[in-house]
Symmetry: none
Subunit: 224 residues, 2 copies
DNA sequence: ACCTTATGATCCAATACTATTCCAAAAGTA
DNA sequence: TACTTTTGGAATAGTATTGGATCATAAGGT
C-alpha cells in the first residue's frame, strides 16, 4: 500500500474540496481525526495540509483548525489578482463617484443607517488598522449595494477581494496610521452626509477627494 | 457533533441567508435563542455573528438585534450574466467617462490610430447591425486598453461579455437601425477627436452623451 | 549500507468553547 | 412619562481542543 504518503493525502483532500464535500469557510476535521481516517500519522497529514495551504486552498490557524479559503480554479481572476495598487485606485476613481450619484437616486433610509453604523465602527477603530480596513471594505460594499445593481455590486466586490492579498496588506501597514484613519473617517462622514441630503455632485466630489487622499498615501508609501 | 464551533455556526447562518431563509432587512432571532438552537454558548454564537458582520452580511444593533444587510457572495457569473441592460448602462456610465480622462493622459498615437480604424469600420456598417456591434465593442475595448490598466480592461471585457447574451441581442435588433448607427458614429468621432486634442472633460462629456443616447434608445425599446 | 520517508509518542503554545455574571442600549407597556 | 422586559456587549475563569515541534524508531527504496 504505497499510496499512503503526504502527496496522495493532499490529492484526496483537494478532491474533497473541489467536489464540494468541504466548501468555502468550512473547517476541516481536526488533524488527529483526519490522520486517523486516512490511516496515516498526524505528521504526514500535517505535511499534506501545509502543501494545500501553500496552494492557497486552505488556511491553517494554529489552535483553531484548517479552513477552506478558495475553490481552487474558480477563485480570483488574474487581472484582479495581479492588479497594482494604483490600478485599483484608478478603477475605484471610475466607479465610486458614479455609485454615489446612483446612491442619491436609489438609497433608502435603512441603507444610510447601515452605512452610519459602519462609520461608527470605523471611528472606534483608530488604533486597529485591520479592523478599520475590514469596516472600510464593508462600507464601500454597502454603498455599492444601495445602487440595487448586482453588476456594480459585483464589480466592487471583485476590486475588494484584492485587499486581502499580501502586497495590499503590507501596503496597508505602511499607510494606515491613526492620523490617516482619522482623515478617512472625516471623509466617510462627508460622503454619507452628502448622500443623506441628496446632493449627488457633492457626494461624488467628496468621494473623489477621498480617493485622491488614498492615492497620495499610496504614492508616498511607494517612494519610501 | 464536532461541528459545534463558531466558524461552522457562521457557515450555517451564512447559508440561511443565501438560501433566502433570512432576507435583506430581516432580523435574526435573539442571540440567546440562536445559541440554544445551535446548541452552543452565546459567546460562541456572538463570535459567529461578528464574523458575518465583518463580512458585511449582517448589522448588529445593540439592544435591538442582528439584521441582514447583504446577500452574501454574489456567485460570480450570475451577477454578470443576469445583468439587466440598464444595469450595464449604469456600469458603463461609471467606467467609460473616467476611462476617457485616463486615455487623454496615457493614450499614444497608435492607440488613436487603432480607434480611428474602428470608427471607419463602424461607419461602413450602417446597414449591418451585427458588424457594427462587433466593431463598437472593439472600439470601447480599445479605448479601455489605452489606460494601460489591466484591471480596467478586464472590467470592460466582463461587461462586454454580456452583449453576447440573448436578451441583449434581441434588444440590439430593436434599437439598432441605420439612423441610430449614424448617430452613434458621430458620437464616436466626437469622442475620438476630444481625446486626440487632449481635452479630458470634453471627451468625458461626449462619452456621457453617447451613453445617454444608448440609455434612451433602450428605455424606448423597453416601452414598446 | 545509505538515504529518504513515514511513524508514533510526547510536550508545548495558541486558540476556542463554556458558563456565569453584570452592564447598557433599545423596545415594549402601562 | 416612567417602569419593565428584551436585546446585545463585555469580562472572567476554567476546561477542552487544536496545530506546532521534536525525537527516536521503523520501513522502504536506491
Amino acid at each position: 500500500m504505497a499510496w499512503r504518503n503526504s502527496s496522495n493525502v493532499a490529492v484526496a483532500i483537494r478532491r474533497s474540496i473541489t467536489d464540494g464535500t468541504y466548501r468555502r469557510h468550512d473547517r476541516l476535521p481536526a488533524s488527529r481525526q483526519l490522520a486517523e481516517s486516512f490511516g496515516v500519522a498526524r505528521n504526514t497529514l500535517r505535511d499534506a495540509l501545509q502543501q494545500l495551504e501553500r496552494e492557497g486552498l486552505l488556511e491553517i490557524r494554529p489552535g483553531s483548525g484548517a479552513y477552506v479559503t478558495g475553490l481552487g480554479d474558480q477563485s480570483i481572476p488574474k487581472a484582479v489578482e495581479e492588479a497594482a495598487p494604483l490600478e485599483l485606485i484608478d478603477a475605484r476613481f471610475a466607479l465610486e463617484p458614479h455609485i454615489c450619484r446612483l446612491c442619491v437616486l436609489h438609497g433608502k433610509r435603512e441603507d444610510f443607517d447601515a452605512m452610519d453604523h459602519l462609520c461608527r465602527r470605523m471611528e472606534s477603530a483608530t488604533a486597529d488598522p485591520t479592523a478599520f480596513a475590514e469596516a472600510d471594505t464593508a462600507f464601500h460594499k454597502a454603498l455599492a449595494s444601495t445602487t440595487r445593481s448586482n453588476l456594480l455590486i459585483w464589480l466592487i466586490e471583485q476590486i475588494n477581494t484584492v485587499r486581502s492579498l499580501d502586497e495590499w496588506t503590507r501596503m496597508r501597514q505602511l499607510t494606515l496610521n491613526a492620523a490617516m484613519i482619522d482623515q478617512y473617517n472625516v471623509q466617510h462622514r462627508d460622503i454619507l452626509n452628502a448622500l443623506r441630503s441628496r446632493e449627488p455632485e457633492r457626494a461624488a466630489a467628496k468621494m473623489k477627494e477621498h480617493l485622491e487622499t488614498a492615492r497620495l498615501s499610496l504614492t508616498r508609501a511607494a517612494e519610501t
